[in-house]
């Protein structure tokens, strides 16, 4: 009698627990979350890992919703994806987005053995799950009869009320701990503007701003050093990060020419072309303004420039 009752109960549970489209969503979310988790541990940049972790957490929230836990699904989205991951991203920004892992193994064969250990652990868990008599799920229709939130609140404020109070103590301790750890004691007085100015001049370095790139050079791109009055390039004028790039010479090979003479020859040709155009324009203006005394001015000027160029 009791056996048939239990069987009827399980049958009712199966029927009550059925959700349409659950297999489709389960397999979709499982594939997404496992792929994102694998990507998270194999991505080299920490920001990419954080974004993939957000994907895993959102799909887990959907899986909670699929399993009759709507309150936990929303808490997952708000607390994990909203608060915890944003905290992670803030810390990443403070530490530096470009911080990547070094690929040097400090313990030899660590990755290999970690992989083997992970495979063994999965096999262990699979064996445990395969041996366990899980049966079919009862479903939460009865427990959620008054609504998921009301059921949870009943449990939380009756059976688990002491754990709930202990949690508040934990949260206060965590907040205090974060404040203590993030606090930095100032051991010397804050430097005033006068102190900063004195320090700048007393150090003996150049007190003003550094020269800008490309000044008086034949090209004013940011990777061209400024030319000093005597024609030598100034190393101070180029950002060291840009100066460290290796392909600068290749990208300016057309500008520089093969040799210095060639480059200078190109320059002279360019100046001649400009002066020739100016001469033509001057001739046209002379034609238009024929008979005026000032007409000879520009022509004389271009002649002088052409001589200087040669």
């Amino acid at each position: 009698m009791s056996a048939s009752l239990a069987a009827g109960h399980v049958l009712a549970g199966q029927v009550a627990d059925k959700q349409s489209g659950e297999p489709f969503f389960f397999w979709l979310l499982a594939a997404v979350s496992v792929c994102a988790a694998l990507g998270m541990i194999f991505m080299r940049k920490a920001v990419h890992s954080a974004l993939l972790l957000a994907t895993v957490m959102l799909s887990l929230a959907a899986l909670y919703a699929l399993q009759d836990a709507p309150f936990l699904a929303f808490v997952q989205v708000i607390v994990y994806t909203g608060a915890v991951l944003m905290l992670f991203l803030f810390v990443l920004m403070l530490v530096g987005v470009s911080s990547t892992d070094s690929l040097v193994e400090t313990i030899r064969g660590q990755r290999l053995w970690a992989g083997i250990g992970a495979l063994g652990f999965v096999a262990l868990l699979a064996a445990g799950l395969g041996n366990a008599a899980l049966g079919d799920s009862t479903g939460l229709k009865a427990a959620n009869a008054d609504g998921n939130v009301i059921g949870l609140a009943r449990l939380l404020f009756k059976n688990y009320v002491f754990a709930f109070e202990a949690t508040s103590a934990l949260l206060i301790t965590a907040a205090l701990g974060a404040m203590v750890l993030a606090h930095r004691e100032r051991v010397e007085p804050k430097p005033t503007q006068r102190d900063l100015s004195k320090g700048r001049f007393l150090s003996g370095d150049h007190p003003g701003p550094l020269p800008g790139p490309g000044t008086y050079a034949r090209h004013n791109a940011v990777d061209m050093p400024a030319l000093l009055p005597d024609g030598t390039p100034s190393e101070l004028s180029v950002n060291p990060i840009i100066a460290a790039r290796t392909d600068t010479v290749e990208r300016h090979s057309d500008l520089l020419g093969e040799t210095e003479e060639e480059a200078a020859g190109q320059d002279v040709a360019a100046v001649r072309a400009v002066t020739a155009r100016a001469e033509d324009a001057g001739a046209e203006s002379r034609v238009v303004k024929a008979g005026t005394q000032a007409a000879g001015g520009p022509a004389a000027g271009t002649d002088a420039e052409g001589e200087a160029g040669q």
């Binding site: 549970g13 297999p23 979350s33 496992v34 988790a37 694998l38 998270m40 541990i41 920490a46 890992s49 954080a50 972790l53 895993v56 957490m57 887990l60 399993q67 836990a69 309150f71 808490v75 997952q76 994990y80 915890v84 992670f88 810390v91 530490v95 892992d101 400090t106 660590q110 990755r111 970690a114 992989g115 250990g117 992970a118 999965v122 868990l125 699979a126 799950l129 899980l134 049966g135 799920s137 009862t138 939460l140 009865a142 427990a143 959620n144 998921n148 059921g151 949870l152 449990l155 939380l156 688990y160 949690t167 934990l170 949260l171 965590a174 907040a175 701990g177 974060a178 750890l181 993030a182």
Partner: protein, 99 residues
């Protein structure tokens, strides 16, 4: 879907998290992997809750989330402090206790 499917997914995610903790050197990524492991156990709790028809599993998952949030706050503050003094967030550089 039987609870076994959800538990298997939870086990796989937990293992991926553990593998990440073992393999990665950046302290922040190691921390993210710990979070992944906590989330995987939460999935198992929710599945058990549904399997038994009781809400206790969901309550425990809720407590796990609260503790994880507190842990993240303190852990990230520690990582920031270490980064401030050592200019590095690699777990290999914090090895003073080794000698």
């Amino acid at each position: 879907m039987s609870p076994g499917h959800y538990l298997a997914l939870s086990a796989i995610l937990f293992t991926i998290g553990a593998l990440g903790v073992l393999v990665r050197r950046n302290a922040i990524v190691v921390f993210m992997c710990v979070e992944l492991m906590l989330n995987a156990t939460n999935l198992a709790f929710v599945s058990f809750s549904r399997m038994h028809g009781e809400l206790d599993g969901q309550i425990i998952a809720f407590f796990v989330m609260v503790v994880a949030a507190a842990e993240v706050v303190v852990g990230l503050a520690i990582i920031m402090t270490i980064f401030r003094t050592r200019r590095s967030s690699s777990v290999d550089d914090a090895n003073l206790l080794k000698y």
